[in-house]
């Protein structure tokens, strides 16, 4: 008797279940479109000619694919008074991002390691004080930082930005590594200590090789943050030393008669491409960085 009843329930549920699955996929599909439309519009606009942009519609795909806007955005569009495209600024961003990422990651790893695996008195307080630096509104340090960079002779320069990003990235990188090292068992380290290995031997020989996942998460996080930074770039650099985000904003706001939306969009893609590529290649690590931003490891 029970078999009969159960099968009835299952069938009724199955139909409702299928209906709900259908609704589920429709809603998810709509949201996929919502998130993708700006990207599609950006790419398709960048491949259209200005005439086609004016004659066609926002969502129409380019009738003939045309890379002129890309070329112009790369090396001849005007950013302020200088008309060399985004290329010089992309190199500024590269020269700024790579050293800043490496420095802040290495120092964060050392810091996290010393604070968790060689616990000394006050380590927790020091960590809490350093961590707070990750959450301050940077407006509160802009004025003194501008003066300090001036006194160091680094005002308006790429090395100045490297310093700024290394210093303010340290709070985040320390957090990432601390959360990672807390989960690493002390056993291997104790054994190495008994064998007479010191602080740096253990760090470079044992700890660093095993923290590859934490390194990847941190490097990706820092790369995205520093490449995408605008506030420090706009506050501490002028003209030729601008990073690409500042140059993009200037390019879009440079009025030279006709507004070239296709060039704007191509420039936006050029500025977005490095972080987007990293995200596509290593998305899982990026997401782990994001959830580490919620502090809990």
């Amino acid at each position: 008797m029970s078999a009969h009843v159960t099968s009835g329930i299952v069938r009724a549920k199955g139909l409702r279940h299928q209906l709900m699955r259908a609704v589920l996929f429709v809603v998810l599909g709509i949201f996929c479109i919502y998130y993708l439309i700006p990207l599609v519009v950006m790419i398709s606009t960048s491949l259209k000619s200005l005439e086609e942009i004016r004659a066609g519609s926002l969502l129409s795909l380019p009738q003939e694919v045309n890379f002129d806007a890309w070329g112009k955005a790369w090396n001849s569009a005007c950013v302020g008074v200088r008309c060399d495209g985004l290329e010089p600024y992309v190199w500024n961003s590269v020269l700024m991002t790579i050293p800043a990422v490496l420095i802040s990651t290495l120092l964060g790893a050392l810091n996290g390691y010393a604070l968790t695996k060689w616990r000394f008195r006050g380590a927790d307080v020091i960590f809490a004080l350093i961590l707070f630096g990750a959450f301050i509104p940077f407006q509160v340090v802009l004025l003194p930082m501008a003066r300090t960079l001036g006194q160091l002779g680094l005002a308006g320069s790429v090395p100045g930005l490297i310093l700024v990003h290394s210093v303010y990235g340290l709070a985040f990188t320390t957090l990432f590594f601390r959360n990672f090292f807390i989960g690493v068992s002390d056993g291997i380290l104790q054994a190495a200590k008994v064998d007479g290995a010191g602080f740096f031997r253990i760090f470079f020989g044992i700890v660093l090789p095993m923290s590859l996942p934490a390194i990847v998460v941190t490097v990706i996080w820092q790369f995205t943050q520093i490449w995408n930074d605008f506030l420090f770039g706009v506050a501490f650099t002028v003209g030729d030393s601008n990073p690409v985000t500042v140059a993009l904003n200037n390019l879009v706001n440079t009025s030279t008669g006709v507004k070239e939306y296709n060039v704007d969009m191509a420039a936006a893609i050029i500025a977005a491409l490095p972080t987007l590529l990293v995200y596509v290649v290593a998305g899982a690590y990026f997401v782990r960085g994001l959830s580490a931003g919620a502090v809990k490891g």
């Binding site: 589920l24 809603v27 998810l28 996929c32 998130y35 700006p38 990207l39 519009v41 950006m42 942009i53 004016r54 519609s57 926002l58 969502l59 120092l107 810091n111 000394f120 004080l129 350093i130 961590l131 707070f132 630096g133 959450f135 509104p137 940077f138 407006q139 509160v140 340090v141 802009l142 004025l143 003194p144 930082m145 210093v167 340290l170 709070a171 602080f199 490449w227 995408n228 930074d229 605008f230 506030l231 706009v234 506050a235 985000t245 993009l248 904003n249 879009v252 706001n253 969009m265 936006a268 500025a271 972080t275 995200y279 596509v280 998305g283 990026f286 997401v287 959830s291 919620a294 809990k296």
Partner: protein, 300 residues
């Protein structure tokens, strides 16, 4: 000679024992200087008469009087309130909805999640540039709808002082709602399946299960998501600059853009420092209790 070897050994052993402190000290000192020293400097400047140049003579609350007598500051605060409320509310709603939908054992989950989250990899400047193009009344959405036959359709929020702040909400939600989704999804994944099964056996439908059982369990996730989004909202600067430039006029000014304008364009250091201090205090009020409870939680 034989007495010296133990001495150098003692020294090197002491050094070795102190090495962790020696390594952390300069980094901690950098943090003390660049974070706490700079904060102290900014707060001090907010109590002086500083104008174009810093002036270290103590003046009391004068700059705060000036700040709170500036109409533009009220515009910035009102915008921050409107923006944060809508941005946090809408991002959370989308985040919860998408997280629950994605938690239904979807085969393409990885790909869909990638699509929901990619805007987080973009610079706010890129997001602002794209939405500025989509929302511009001349060639963007307004024209699209008019082309579809609705000739009288008007959607000029981007250039309308009363509505421009909502375009910032639109772009910010697009960029950050996937982040809320990721946080909620991680929270849902940590809910014990046995509890859900037990509830299903008891005959609870999916809506009952989520609203009655899962949501209350996710209270800590709600809290941390609200705090992270609030933190993003208070700091929002890039998006406003790229999307509206703070305009029309200063209709979309926020505390962050206000501070930047007074510090670097109008060279009123005292007022800029006072506004930065107000921002810091707001963040401290939100973040410090949160960090305190989080850190205490991880130590247990």
């Amino acid at each position: 000679m034989s007495a010296r070897i133990p001495l150098t050994q003692t020294i090197s052993r002491t050094l070795e024992r102190r090495l962790p402190v020696i390594v952390v000290s300069p980094l901690f000192a950098a943090s003390l200087f660049f974070v706490y020293g700079f904060i102290a400097w900014t707060i001090y400047i907010s109590f002086t008469k500083s104008g174009v140049m810093p002036n270290y003579a103590f003046e009391g609350l004068q700059q705060y009087d000036r700040l709170w007598a500036t109409p533009r500051w009220y515009v910035a605060l009102r915008n921050l309130f409107v923006f944060s409320t809508l941005f946090i509310g809408i991002s959370m709603a989308i985040g919860i909805l998408l997280a629950i939908l994605l938690d239904q054992k979807i085969r393409a989950e990885g790909m869909i999640r990638t699509i929901f989250l990619y805007p987080m990899a973009l610079s706010f400047i890129v997001t602002g540039t794209v939405w500025k193009w989509i929302l511009n009344p001349g060639l963007g959405v307004q024209r699209l709808v008019r082309q579809a036959g609705f000739e009288d359709f008007t959607f000029d929020w981007l250039v309308n002082s009363d509505y421009a702040i909502y375009t910032v909400v639109i772009a910010a939600v697009w960029q950050s709602s996937g982040y809320a989704m990721a946080l909620f999804l991680a929270g849902l994944r940590s809910v014990d399946d046995e509890i859900l099964k037990a509830a299903a056996i008891d005959g609870a439908g999916p809506i009952r299960v989520y609203s009655g059982i899962v949501m209350p369990m996710l209270r800590p996730v709600f809290l941390s998501t609200i705090i992270i989004l609030a933190h993003l909202a208070i700091k929002s600067f890039d998006l406003v600059i790229a999307l509206t430039g703070g305009g029309p006029g200063f209709a979309t000014d926020m505390p962050a853009t206000f501070m930047y304008a007074f510090a670097f364009q109008r060279s009123e250091l005292g007022v800029a420092a006072a506004s930065a201090t107000m921002m810091l205090m707001t963040i401290v009020a939100i973040i410090v209790p949160y960090l305190y409870s989080e850190l205490r939680g991880t130590r247990q």
